[in-house]
Symmetry: C2
Subunit: 341 residues, 2 copies
């Protein structure tokens, strides 16, 4: 296995090094070929490395940065003023080909803006997309994109999202000839906006994509498709609605558990399983969401990410680096657009 | 209490009279001032009335119709060819002022198309919307609209949805000065499409609406607002995603229950409570969704509606008829637009 080098934004997320350091240590222990660049305040990083007896780990390199992008900082401000931040440094290392991928749990808007600025989109790609996988009823995975990288809508963008999603499902998840659907308000061909209908027509004509038609919101988890494509506005609302439902269920179960000692014990026993399920349903918490369509690999972990969630995001970055996802996307898009001419 | 007359489409939904007859009987038993028109195949209706010993109920009037709108029928076809259907008859009775409201569990698309054609939109109203309430963490209710009556997007439509949602929350749910939010991909003012920003500007200037800003998908259940407004595409995806999550959780709990006799018993005990919660989260199943912005009251019950769900939809129609919701919407919209001039 060739060496994989990943740059981590150690300061991002609610917990900073407290969560990112244990995740980094666990990752290098798991992958003997993994080298990590730990970008952030060196003093703070050293303190936590010391705490975990990993000060002199040969595959953990501390890269000192002074600035931190705040969770509520405006993306345009972060882009202009925080070019000496841990987030920016992690992206710069990918751009300079010193790292194969980067992972951050920082401010999503700032990360998207910086990543686009630093890494640039792949040739022929109109817009990048945020993609992640969710579980289905049958314990399969379904990729959903765009989860909010941009809210622009056009048929060509949706078509390219389908191509990128298909590559991800194929390369990262190993799904042969992934079934791709467009998210719509009905399954009938006459439903939806004109740009959706145009995207559907483009997809059904494309021999490189296994297009299976429209899917509705309840089909996300039904296993009808391996990749579900929508614009970033709709994807973001869907994802956050799922997060909201998860919180609602947990709050209701908690209320139910207060009813009697019996229900309290029962729900206490079930809760870890339920929480685990929900964390899977919120991909952001689970294995991170990936920004695809750029010249480098960027994995976004949730701002709330624990060490475990950040570790999962690193694993995702390792997988994508091994499969050289950006190259595969570039090749596939070129191939598809060439055939179209 | 003045008499309320409601026309029911007895043939709609998966179960037809098997579900709609018990619901109708329960409703007239509950409300002594309620008179129901039972539109559908008289023979089939009589059979079920007989079965429930309600053949000669003085407040149940059978209105014979020959045609039935199929669940998968195209709306435009239903509109053209099914003008002797139970669905159409129920709407006609409202239009002719013989009924104060109508309820159907039939084909949603067909109902929307027929309702618009038969009842027409209220003066000044650009487009009708499908609205329903969902539970919040704190056991309050939040109204969400549009759930898919139309997928057209424009600031004026969103603004009118906000007015109509505000009237519903105020009149039907009794919420004073309801807080209204626009569904967006972030809370910051700079987020979202231009038409959302324009709608936000219109709402923040309007003294008749208690506009509280943008809300995200996870805010639907958080109690941040009493009314959440979005276009029909986004609302439909959000609602169906909630339905998908509910099914996913139940399928996962079932899988978990297979693990041991212990978990089987525990989950068996919890399941009814969990199912009940989910039925509340899918308003369509629970109390129906209402089509607002028309000259009459139309409540849509789920195609899958049980007698209980159909009964809830009738109750919702009674409430709206008592509060004369269409009149209130008309007055409020006139008032708001007058002030704008």
């Amino acid at each position: 296995m060739r060496d994989i080098r990943i740059a981590l934004d150690m300061m991002g997320g609610d917990y900073g090094p407290r969560a990112t350091i244990p995740a980094a240590i666990r990752a290098v222990e798991k992958y003997p070929y993994l080298h990590l660049y730990l970008c952030g305040h060196s003093q703070s990083i050293h303190t936590f490395l010391n705490k975990h007896n990993a000060l002199n780990h040969p595959r953990l390199t501390v890269v000192h940065t002074e600035q931190v992008v705040n969770q509520d900082e405006r993306p345009d401000i972060a882009l202009r003023r925080k070019n000496r931040s841990s987030m920016r440094k992690a992206l710069d290392l990918v751009e300079q080909d010193q790292a194969d991928a980067c992972v951050s749990a920082g401010n999503t808007g700032a990360l998207l803006a910086m990543a686009r600025y630093v890494l640039k989109t792949l040739p022929l790609i109109k817009r990048p997309a945020l993609i992640s996988s969710l579980p289905t009823y049958e314990n399969e995975k379904v990729y959903l994109l765009d989860l909010g990288a941009n809210i622009h809508q056009c048929p060509e963008t949706l078509f390219q999202f389908a191509v990128m999603g298909s590559v991800m499902a194929n390369e990262v998840e190993g799904i042969e000839n992934p079934r791709v659907a467009l998210l719509n308000v009905g399954e009938e061909e006459i439903k939806g906006s004109d740009h959706l209908k145009q995207a559907a027509e483009m997809l059904s004509k494309c021999k490189h994509i296994n297009y299976v038609g429209f899917a509705e919101g309840n089909d996300i988890f039904s296993g009808k498709a391996d990749v579900i494509v929508c614009d970033g506005f709709v994807g973001n609302v869907a994802l956050k609605t799922i997060e909201g439902v998860a919180k609602l269920i947990i709050s209701k179960l908690r209320a139910l558990s207060e009813k009697s000692l019996f229900t309290k014990i029962m729900i206490g026993i079930l809760m870890p399983g339920i929480r685990k399920l929900f964390s899977k349903m919120n991909p952001d918490h689970y294995n991170g969401a990936s920004l695809v369509g750029l010249r480098g690999i960027v994995v976004k972990s949730h701002g709330n990410a624990s060490a475990k969630a950040f570790y999962s995001a690193i694993k995702e970055a390792v997988k994508e680096a091994q499969r050289q996802v950006p190259h595969k996307i570039k090749d596939r898009v070129e191939q598809v657009l060439k055939d179209e001419e």
